[in-house]
Amino acid sequence: MAEKYTTNELMAVTASRLLRDSDNIVVGLGLPQIAAQLAKTTHAPNLNIVYEIGSINPDAIEMGVGIADPRLWYQSQYFTSFVGTMGHVLQKGMIDVGFLGALQVDKHGNLNSTHLKTSKTSTGIRHFNGSGGAADMACFSKRIMAVMKHDKRKFVDKVDFLTSVGYLDGSDSRSREGLPMCEYIKIITNLCVFGFDNEERVLAVETLHPGISVQEVIDNTGIELSIPEAVKRTDEPTEEEISLLRNQIDPLKMFI
């Protein structure tokens, strides 16, 4: 167990440990990619990493500014099209883990990465980036993970705009909509790990990060939560993991 680590480091390690060896994963830039690199260096050397832009298993040695940055394509094993990655690999059900980020998440794990409601514009919305391939990853990945900053305005009862499907209206509504069923959805925040492994498919704390109180999570979540006092704690990073993150995976501290 490491003596000292940052919250970002804890989040990266937590995400990393959820990856299994030989998983096929789709990641974007940032913490997810850091987590994938860490897993590949430790317990999951056979991870296959797919980038929606059309690159598989690169061995990048520099961090890029996004998946469209050629730095991320160095030493790739395969180049293809959007249809080749998302239309083939993902849609065929070959992706084990889709790593997402979002503006908002709701109590059934639906994500919004497109726009927020506001009173400041004539249309009543403020548009951000749009969903790109994230919507598709949420649809077709076996396991869905999102990494998000914990914030009352980001954890809401209903997302302003549903771009990436979670459990829709909860219970069996996802499969009733005709969507492929996922094994789980987990949201990793700076305070805790959320899951939806209950019958109603409602947001529930799975583990609290070390040093975080139940009240702190409740105060920062815009969704009603009932958290048992005996809730488990998130496992702490090991010295080795922290050392790999700092010295090998993100030495320039771009994301950690």
Binding site: G64, A68, P70, F79, T80, G130, C139
Partner: protein, 305 residues
């Protein structure tokens, strides 16, 4: 074989002045057909119906210049440099007819177009608000149907064959065989068009094509025109040729937050230059461009210390 080489201005003149359906090939900050887009703005094409899977500065320039009526896309950004604030602002103010898809669903509409089939079924979009809005807007690109094979619900995505597709690639020969190095996200889009325009960094010999046949992503029979425009994607990256221009993108990501600044930018750098060479001279010419040349092995600019 016949040459399909054209000048940029001449190529853009072929596009109808109003209402063309145009697909663009950039992806955020890479291989965006910037030179082509600048020329569209100079020639003041209007009411474009634009398709781009992951938009970048190329589509934003067209929107900012008032050339676009309808935008069909899935997302867009300048990667970590910033958002497409100029597009976002127009969306927020209801000035742009916007049709949002997921990446897979829009690229499959291109695939169906490239294959000449009427539609293609998918589970993508089900349950999303993109689908809800497309249906509300009576967009003819999607229908929710039941597959006669498994009785399950699917979105049937209508084939799209844009009037014009424009991509920027590394190389082509004069007959129109196009080499794309690196990821090829835009191949189905390119093949779906009625007329494909390809701007390239360099026109290479037919011999080079035959020696590198495994890199040919688009064979000549798809290509309507080849236009040689060195640094045609600047300030965006072209794998193995040049990197994105970091400082330029940082500045641009400030400019696009302010409509007046943006209009001035367009006036000065696009409308105020007569062609791409003049634009390149204006932004700093050879000195600036030499500085972003890619390392041929790494494919981007490697800092050599």
């Amino acid at each position: 074989m016949k040459s399909k080489v054209m000048g940029l201005s001449e190529a853009v003149k072929e596009i109808p002045n109003e209402g063309a359906c145009l697909a663009l090939g950039g992806f955020a900050i890479t291989r965006n057909p910037i030179a082509f887009v600048h020329e569209i703005i100079r020639q003041q094409k209007k009411d474009l119906d634009v398709y781009q899977t992951v938009a970048g500065m190329d589509t934003e320039l067209l929107v900012g210049a008032g050339c676009v009526k309808k935008l069909n896309y899935t997302s867009g950004s300048l990667d970590r440099f910033g958002r497409l604030e100029r597009i976002n602002a127009d969306i927020d103010q209801g000035k742009l007819d916007i049709r949002e898809y997921s990446g897979l669903s829009l690229s499959m509409r291109f695939l169906a177009g490239a294959m000449g089939i009427p539609f293609i079924p998918t589970k993508a979009l089900l349950g999303t608000h993109m689908l809800r809005d497309l249906i509300e807007k009576k967009d003819d690109g999607v229908r929710v149907e039941t597959s006669p094979f498994d009785g399950e619900k699917y979105v049937y995505l209508k084939a799209i064959q844009p009037d014009i597709a424009v991509i920027h690639a590394q190389y082509a020969d004069k007959t129109g065989n196009v080499i794309i190095e690196g990821p090829k996200w835009d191949v189905e889009m390119a093949k779906s068009a009625k007329k494909l325009y390809v701007t390239v960094e360099k026109i290479v010999s037919e011999e080079y094509i035959k020696q590198n046949v495994e890199k040919v992503a688009i064979p000549s029979l798809y290509t309507h025109a080849i236009i040689e425009v060195p640094f045609g994607a600047f300030p965006n990256a072209v794998y193995k040729v040049y990197d994105y221009d970091r400082e330029y993108l940082i500045d641009y990501a400030k400019t696009n937050k302010n409509i007046d600044k943006y209009d001035n930018y367009l006036k000065e750098y696009v409308l105020g230059t007569k062609d791409h060479n003049e634009f390149l001279e204006k932004i700093g010419g050879l000195a600036r461009l030499s500085n972003i040349k890619a390392d041929p092995i790494f494919g981007y600019k490697v800092e050599v210390s």
